[in-house]
């Protein structure tokens, strides 16, 4: 996609780009600024969930400069084997060990306890494991997974938004604790060999009955619920548990008009059509995650799918990675630091985060922002 944009390609009229791309898309002139079009066609960003407008549409962040229409809301959430959680023998064993009922976790530490409880347990003659989490090294996996813990502990990228002052924020004691927690989770509560796992491995582990819980993007939840073997009444969902605060890792995309298109009118017409509340309702009914308030604020929304309420809750507490034009360099630096610490057992959490600040500082210096 980026190659296509960088070469001023006309392959796409519209582009559903990841949230992190918005900075580069806007600053490099790849995306059309949509403010005038929105005004002329009575499309109001007030009609969309504020978190999605902030994350998917604005650049610079939080300013009323819109380069996309929020299209597909998403966050990293959790799902679990509801049928296992409901078994009397398992419930009794859990209560005996932890002195509380086995239920959806309310905190990150409860989540780990439940995962450790299931780790290596035999269920129906098969050895099962605690949870499948993201540990992938190559693209964005381990960052998307570990930030679920970091945000719940209160992680911040900067002390002052927009100032790139990372010392004390990125490597705060809470961040160190969260990273140590994620490492402990990986070491004590995941299946053997899950050292390079992302979305598909998480789905495989759950669908094959290996794990009691798994993390993944809400986008997959309709398919998981429909799965004939592990879906239906065997599955349930929960939002990423809080620890010091609520926090979920943002996924999802906005839809932007590519500035090099030779079909500008058609592309804009599509945006206008897609922003229509009726189209948004149909989008949700067919499995798309609408960000429109006409869908989300409907009193019946939480009853439309077993994960609808969790989706609403998650989108209320989402945080995203840097959306800077240099996000790829920032992301790969974090991938390297986290994988080295969590999976490859190199150094301490504090050293990993200190190193990350050094890497990010170099990137921002190259960008002329520091």
């Amino acid at each position: 996609m980026l190659n296509e944009l960088n070469s001023d390609g006309q392959l796409c009229d519209l582009l559903i780009g990841d949230s992190q791309w918005i900075g580069g898309g806007a600053e490099n002139g790849h995306y059309v600024k949509l403010n005038e079009f929105f005004d002329a066609n009575a499309i109001s960003m007030d009609d969309f969930a504020p978190a999605t407008v902030y994350a998917y549409s604005t650049w610079p962040k939080g300013t009323p400069n819109y380069y996309a229409l929020p299209a597909m809301g998403d966050a990293n959430g959790w799902f679990y084997r509801k049928d296992w959680f409901a078994r009397d023998d398992i419930k009794a064993a859990f209560k005996e060990k932890y002195g509380r009922d086995l239920a959806e976790p309310k905190t990150q530490k409860e989540l780990l306890e439940i995962a450790q409880f299931f780790q290596g347990r035999e269920i129906d003659g098969q050895k099962v494991y605690g949870a499948s989490i993201f540990t992938e090294r190559g693209s964005e996996g381990i960052t998307m997974g570990a930030t679920g813990a970091l945000y719940a502990w209160g992680f911040k990228y900067e002390n002052t938004p927009g100032k790139y002052d990372m010392e004390g924020a990125v490597n705060s004691p809470a961040a160190v604790e969260a990273l140590e927690f994620y490492k402990e989770f990986y070491k004590t509560a995941t299946p053997p060999g899950y050292d390079n796992a992302y979305m598909e491995q998480s789905l495989d582990a759950f669908k094959s009955g290996q794990v009691a819980m798994a993390m993944n993007w809400f986008a997959f939840f309709p398919g998981l619920y429909a799965d004939p073997n592990t879906g239906g009444d065997k599955i349930d969902f929960f939002v990423n548990p809080a620890q010091n605060q609520a926090g979920s890792t943002l996924g999802g995309q906005g839809i932007s008009v590519v500035s090099y298109t030779d079909n500008m009118d058609g592309a804009l017409e599509y945006i206008k059509w897609f922003a229509n509340p009726d189209v948004q309702k149909k989008w949700w009914s067919m499995g798309g995650y609408s960000c429109h308030k006409a869908v989300l604020d409907d009193p019946n929304f939480v009853n439309t799918a077993p994960f609808a309420g969790d989706f609403l809750e998650a989108m209320g507490g989402v945080q995203d990675f840097w959306q800077e034009p240099a996000y790829a360099s920032l992301l790969l630096a974090m991938q390297e630091r986290l994988h080295n610490y969590i999976v490859a057992d190199q150094g301490t959490a504090k050293e990993a985060l200190d190193g990350l600040i050094a890497d990010w500082t170099e990137v921002f210096e190259d960008e002329g922002k520091l």
Binding site: E136, R137, G193, N196, E336, N340, V343
Partner: protein
């Protein structure tokens, strides 16, 4: 009347063209034929190389077409050469290179030595042995990932069978220090047949009468090996080492599929790191400097090696 090819060509062409061709010297016509190749070589190899050298002194980023390109002097080179991470990657690359070549030479030569003897089923066995090198590295990477899988993989199962170490208690591609050896095993499995074939060609090029003369002189088999076989196969062996060295220095696909460079940076070869810098981080200027450093290293080592190879051949 002359009947040279040039004259025949001249007679077959229109008069105006014929006059021009007759006026050309042999050297000019030779250049005429070679020119397209030279032009292509300049356009596809030399120009990009020069352009890369130029970019290596800038902060150019290919994904930021609008950004002003600044001349940064030797900054990219300084950063690379003082980066501990890059030196660690170079060590990982050297470890991979040295061990794969050593194992492939030893096993490949031994296999060639055995295959060179005449026995029933020789041809079938040779075909079976060379099968791995016919596979795509992508296929090899994928199916070895399954073989190494701790829960369902054959390798862990075999280890458990012979040692009693639980199969799911260790990961060949995960943390614990085994990953760098795992990629060596796969490359050796795949490319040893290539070295074997080259050695086999070398062994079969040794005339029988040399061994017959040695037998008459009552030279032992051991002596024959050290004084006839090895010296005569050595140029072939060195050629195999050169080919495998160059190939493995730029190894990418198979290792990416097996480990993605992980766990951490344990199997992060220089080529994988370079690709990330160039086409994921889009640090084009920096990665150009990185590429130039790797190019000079390979070119320098290969030149020294080829000189040594020529000396061996001259003996």
């Amino acid at each position: 009347m002359s009947h040279t090819p040039i004259d025949r060509l001249a007679h077959a062409t229109p008069p105006a063209m014929a006059r021009r061709v007759r006026g050309l010297s042999d050297r000019a016509i030779a250049w005429l034929f070679v020119a397209p190749t030279i032009f292509l070589l300049l356009a596809i190899n030399i120009f990009p190389l020069i352009w890369t050298v130029r970019l290596s002194f800038t902060n150019y980023a290919a994904n930021r077409p609008g950004r002003e390109v600044e001349w940064v002097g030797l900054r990219n080179y300084t950063r690379i050469l003082t980066d501990d991470g890059i030196w660690a990657n170079m060590q990982t690359t050297a470890h991979f290179l040295i061990w794969t070549i050593a194992l492939q030479v030893v096993i490949g030569f031994s296999l060639a030595w055995l295959i060179n003897r005449k026995f029933k089923g020789n041809d079938l066995l040779t075909t079976l042995i060379v099968l791995p090198m016919m596979l795509s590295p992508a296929v090899v990477g994928n199916f070895w990932t399954f073989l190494y899988q701790p829960q369902i993989g054959l390798i862990n199962y075999v280890v458990e069978l012979f040692t009693g170490i639980p199969a799911s208690s260790f990961s060949m591609l995960g943390p614990g220090g085994l990953a760098k050896w795992s990629i060596i095993i796969v490359d050796t499995w795949m490319w040893t047949p290539f070295v074997m074939l080259i050695c086999l060609a070398g062994l079969r090029s040794i005339p029988d009468y040399i061994y017959e003369a040695a037998e008459i002189d009552r030279a032992s088999k051991w002596r024959q090996f050290w004084t006839i076989t090895l010296p005569m196969v050595l140029p072939f062996l060195m050629l195999a080492v050169l080919f495998r060295g160059i190939e493995n220095f730029k190894m990418f696909d198979m290792v990416v599929l097996l480990t993605g460079g992980g766990p951490g940076n344990e199997t992060l070869l220089a080529s994988i790191d370079l690709k990330r810098e160039a086409f994921e981080k889009w640090r084009t200027g920096y990665s150009s400097a990185y590429a130039i450093i790797l190019f000079v290293t390979v070119f320098g080592l290969a030149s020294i090696y080829v000189k040594a190879l020529n000396k061996v051949k001259e003996r």
